[in-house]
Amino acid sequence: MSQSTYVPEEPLVKGNHTFASITSLIADIPEQPTPKWWYIAFGISNILLGVLLMSIGYLFWEGTGIWGITNPVGWGWAIINFVWWVGIGHAGTLISAILYLFRQGWRTAINRFAEAMTIFAVICALIFPGIHVGRIWLAYWMFPLPNGMQMWPNFNSPLLWDVFAVSTYFTVSLLFWFVGLVPDFATLRDRVKSKLAAKIYGFFALGWTGGNRQWQHYEKAYMLLAGLATPLVLSVHTIVSFDFAVSVIPGWHTTIFPPYFVAGAIFSGFAMVMTLMLIARKLYKLEDIMTLDHIEKVNMVILVTGNMVGFAYIMEFFIAWYSGVTYEKAAFINRAMGPYAWAYWTMFLCNVISPQFFWSKKMRRSITASFILSIVVNIGMWFERFVITVTSLAQDFLPSSWGYYSPTKWDMLTYLGTFGLFFTFFLLFLRFLPMVAIAEVKMVMPQADPHHTDAHKGDH
């Protein structure tokens, strides 16, 4: 975008809002009666959650054989879903941490529930490494606990790195989220009618008074956390990509994976943010806070990361050819023209072609387009993980052991179930917690500037 003249930033909060009106706009949601759609959605999510528990239960009972996994494809949907959910998580941290460091004021509108999304997505992800092992009851051997065998985990294993990376990521995201919530808990504490609610919110507010002596340390802590979360989020998908990149399997053994995976993660994460944001803003009439400008900015990120991913796809092929390694070449020819071509081209269509619509401002600002494309992108990103995991394993070095992987109903039910888990959490969040960071939104309002005199008040 070449432009010489300075165009003043659009105000981040639309409509004629005072601090008080912002507060009530968000903080009163828990007070309002629970809408009918919420009950319906919550019911559906709970059923899906039940499906998840059931399929995991059956898995415990029978063993991983109920899944489609086999020789040579030892990893199927479980790992695909794991990578997919972790990827989705990344957007939250990115918004709250990286954009914060870059002083992107517009993040305030969406960071709270983006972070919530991160946490719930990572919970969904964390399920899979736990249950995909053959002897689930011994999965704790992956942690360095002293024991009578005098055995320790193998710290060379990317899978072990994963355990540390993802659990650290989850813990830090949770802390980050909670710290952000503290002042808003206080707000709710001071607003809600019911004594019980006040006690509960009050408990989590930890006695926040809004005193500047608190704000001082608070801001510092928030900034440091952002500073820590930024390299962390980059490291997490880098390490997830090591699961593949560190192996010797053609199609996995690639140095491009870390940046490629991180870009992909942000790509899918923002798509998911978009989906959720559009729903939330419609249902809770938050158009003034989550404005079209926000939507457009998110779409830009999707476009950029989408192209990064597309670049990676093409680069993989180039390198495969350039390397001159028979097995490497064959692996990629198989991806595009082998038995899994259908998956590959689905992925390519969804992840590389579809975002191109966002070159047009009209599309970027169109709610419908954004909604549809955001979902398409998430489908595409799931297929990316499918293509990487399955096609590389299905046809590796010795043609004698080539095989074809197809999932069973238990693979599908488990995956479906994780949505139940995700939305159960997310709906509870929407219902009982401030879905927008109240204090932070106020901060980016013009009135918040101490040098903003009354004369300007309310004029935009």
């Binding site: 008080a20 055995m151 710290f155 650290t168 002042p183 001071d190 930890l206 006695g207 005193g211 390299p231």
Partner: protein, 176 residues
Amino acid sequence: MSSTYAVLAEFKNPGELMKAAETVRKAGYTKWDVHSPFPIHGMDDAMGLKPSKLGWLVFGHAVLGFTGAVTLLTWASSIAYPINISGKPFANFPAFVPIIFELTVLLSAFGAVFGMFFLNNMPRHHNPLFNSETIRRATDDGFFVVIESTDTLYHETKTAELLRSAGATLIEPISA
């Protein structure tokens, strides 16, 4: 009506509050604070607060995490039970980097969060401030200065006078 814990004065916007804060600081009060729904730029200087010590806490934790990780990994895989894995050296540092990094970040994050709670004396669910109804607006759209009665300069009328002169729109005592 028992003794007062502090006197509370409300100001109509961040700008006013900032001026008031400067006035109070110049007057030499020490046991006082300003309360606002969001952090206000420049307020730390206005109040004359020293920069936060939190950074050092975090650094300490980072060092702890780093050394801890290095020790655990090296000891476990090359001293406790060295095992030949893929013919790699027992202490295979390139492979240790990810875990060392993660543990460093994890510990630092703990430092940042719990350090902040520690410095802010949180959790503190019972607070005399909450005896006031007005202060509750501090989490909504109220901007307050609160001067504690235990401050040496505190004087029931003089302090109130000072605050009114600073442009307080409302002044009320908070009972202990």
